[in-house]
């Protein structure tokens, strides 16, 4: 389980998060959604312990694994894929303990799982973006942490890789881990995740996706007003222009009625899409 209580994060005069209290339970796939600039990444970083809270606190009951939005490693660092995946063991082994057979097997299994077994001995720099993302999944597997936080893990990867990750998430949920992921693909959230927290500088709504998302999303300026925007059926809010025009109407458009481009309707079993943009 991981959560926060009255969490606020300020960057100088700017407020990224204000008074957020949320709890994410184990055995549940949780999503954090919201407009750009809404503080989703900040929330995840604060939960992961990378961002200091200006106020409030974070609680968790176990080690946390965190997948950042963009890999912060220089991919030219002289490391091969297997080594990279093996770094996931660091929390368990620290600096000095020798890596046993067990760890190597675990890494090998993880690589097979993500389909990178043949690239085991290659240096990181030969991987494409999608391959690297899969290598990062493999590292997550090796980390074997009870709490997993992922920030936009599906960005820019192809459909098979996305499917692979989602299957992984399902498995983790079944194993009773706490999984929290930031996603832009709202239909996906509706379909496969069971808990959502909607962020726009503050926690706007939380609970079952169907309930929270049917009213659409707040726009990016969290001036306290609740200007709700309709959702473009392409899988989430995109540009402000789209949001703004959909607000022109008096009543907030319900999710079902605002399928502007005539794409997927809720409830239909749509295959998960990669590339929300």
């Amino acid at each position: 389980m991981i959560g926060c209580h009255d969490l606020s994060v300020h960057f100088g005069p700017n407020t990224a998060l204000e008074g957020v209290s949320a709890t994410f339970a184990p055995g549940v796939l949780s999503a954090v959604v919201g407009p750009n600039g809404g503080g989703k990444t900040t929330l995840l970083r604060a939960l992961a312990g990378l961002q200091k809270a200006s106020k409030g606190k974070v609680v968790c009951d176990g080690p946390v694994a965190y997948l950042s939005q963009r890999p912060e490693t220089d991919h030219r660092f002289p490391m091969c894929v297997e080594e990279y995946v093996l770094t996931g063991t660091w929390r368990r082994t620290g600096d000095a303990r020798r890596l046993g057979r067990n760890e190597f097997d675990r890494a090998h299994d993880a690589l097979c799982r993500v389909g990178l077994a043949d690239k085991r001995a290659q240096p990181l720099e030969v991987l494409s973006g999608g391959q690297w993302q899969r290598a990062r999944f493999a590292r997550l597997i090796v980390e074997d942490a009870p709490i997993v936080l992922l920030d936009e893990p599906l960005t820019g990867i192809d459909v098979p890789s996305a499917e692979l990750l989602l299957a992984l998430l399902d498995q983790w949920r079944n194993e009773g881990r706490t999984v929290v992921t930031v996603l832009h693909d709202l239909p996906l959230v509706l379909e496969r995740l069971s808990y959502v927290a909607v962020m726009a500088g503050r926690l706007v709504a939380s609970g079952a996706p169907a309930e929270c998302l049917h009213r659409g999303l707040p726009s990016a300026d969290s001036t306290g007003g609740a200007t709700y925007a309709g959702l473009s059926g392409a899988g989430g809010y995109t540009t402000r222009a789209t949001i703004a025009t959909s607000v022109a109407g008096a009543a907030p458009a319900s999710f079902g009625g605002s399928a502007r481009d005539g794409a997927h309707l809720p409830g239909s079993v749509a295959p998960p899409r990669g590339g929300p943009r």
């Binding site: 992961a48 312990g49 990378l50 968790c60 080690p63 946390v64 694994a65 965190y66 950042s68 963009r70 890999p71 912060e72 490693t73 220089d74 991919h75 030219r76 660092f77 002289p78 490391m79 091969c80 770094t87 660091w90 929390r91 082994t93 620290g94 600096d95 000095a96 240096p123 720099e125 991987l127 494409s128 973006g129 999608g130 690297w132 942490a145 820019g156």
Partner: protein, 287 residues
């Protein structure tokens, strides 16, 4: 064949100063290799040269307190170097200045401060000759200092290798999870860097210390694909340059320090020319 052997071994067996120079350079190579490689990977390659200027106020104050005594001056230099390095690291974390800019700010401050101190309270005795040595003049205390620091360096790197690699490659990964404190890698590395550099300055001069640290590391980066490979190549280049450079100085009457660094530089040039096609210079892979 044995004539070649005599040519190589002869100078060292005949002269004590050549042996001292050789052992000193080899010891410096051992300590500087891992430091140089990681400095390069952490994008701090220019720190070595800047640090040579940053130690001035510390040495000046050490001289004011203890006179022309090596422990006071070298000790003072080390304290100054550590202060500058640590303050720069702190400032780069807290402000929008990057490591390079922070370091530039502090070392210039230190250098100017040092010049003022010496000109007001010192006299124009050549402090530099005591603080910055020469490879042909390595005496026993300097040798012991360099060897001791090389040993400590190896031990620390051996013990903290994994953590340091992670701290250099993926600090975010290291920092999350409310786990162990990870400042020790950055701090330990900084301390070792300053120690190796100051000991190197004192024993053999700035050019040698920084040259043996960065040129082999740069060569290794071009040539090796794994980190252990880099460390090995860097160490080989540094050690070979020491031997060859000293022999060049002996047979061709060139100044020794520059001869050693030039040899390492030729290795670097060779690597540059021999490994084209590393043109994929983007930091993140294309999607």
């Amino acid at each position: 064949m044995s004539m070649v052997w005599d040519l190589i071994v002869g100078p060292f067996s005949e002269f004590d100063f050549m042996r001292h120079a050789l052992v000193g350079s080899l010891a410096l190579s051992i300590g500087c290799t891992p430091v140089g490689v990681f400095l390069l990977l952490r994008r701090m390659s220019l720190m070595g040269d800047s640090l040579s200027h940053a130690v001035l106020p510390g040495a000046a104050i050490g001289y004011l307190i203890g006179g022309l005594s090596l422990p006071w001056m070298a000790g003072g230099g080390m304290v100054a170097g550590l202060l500058v390095a640590l303050l720069a690291g702190l400032s780069s974390r807290r402000t929008r200045l990057d490591e390079g800019a922070s370091f530039a700010g502090f070392y210039l401050l230190a250098l100017a401060g040092g010049v003022v101190i010496v000109s007001k309270w010192g006299n124009s005795v050549d402090l530099m000759h005591l603080l910055f040595g020469s490879v042909l003049a390595v005496d026993d205390p300097s040798l012991i200092l360099v060897a001791a620091i090389a040993t400590v360096t190896l031990l620390w790197f051996g013990w903290h290798y994994r953590g340091l690699v992670l701290d250099s490659a993926d600090p975010t990964f290291l920092g999350h999870g409310h786990g162990k404190s990870v400042m020790r890698y950055h701090l330990g590395f900084t301390v070792l860097t300053v120690m190796n550099l100051v000991a190197g300055f004192q024993a053999m001069g700035t050019l040698m210390a920084v040259g043996l640290m960065m040129l082999p590391a740069a060569t290794a980066r071009l040539v090796a694909r794994t980190l252990p490979g880099m460390l090995l190549v860097a160490w080989l280049v540094a050690s070979a340059s020491s031997v060859i450079g000293l022999l060049i100085s002996y047979y061709l009457a060139c100044p020794s320090g520059p001869a050693i660094v030039l040899t390492a530089g030729i290795a670097y040039l060779g690597a540059l020319l021999a490994t084209p096609g590393q043109a994929n210079t983007a930091k993140t892979p294309a999607l």
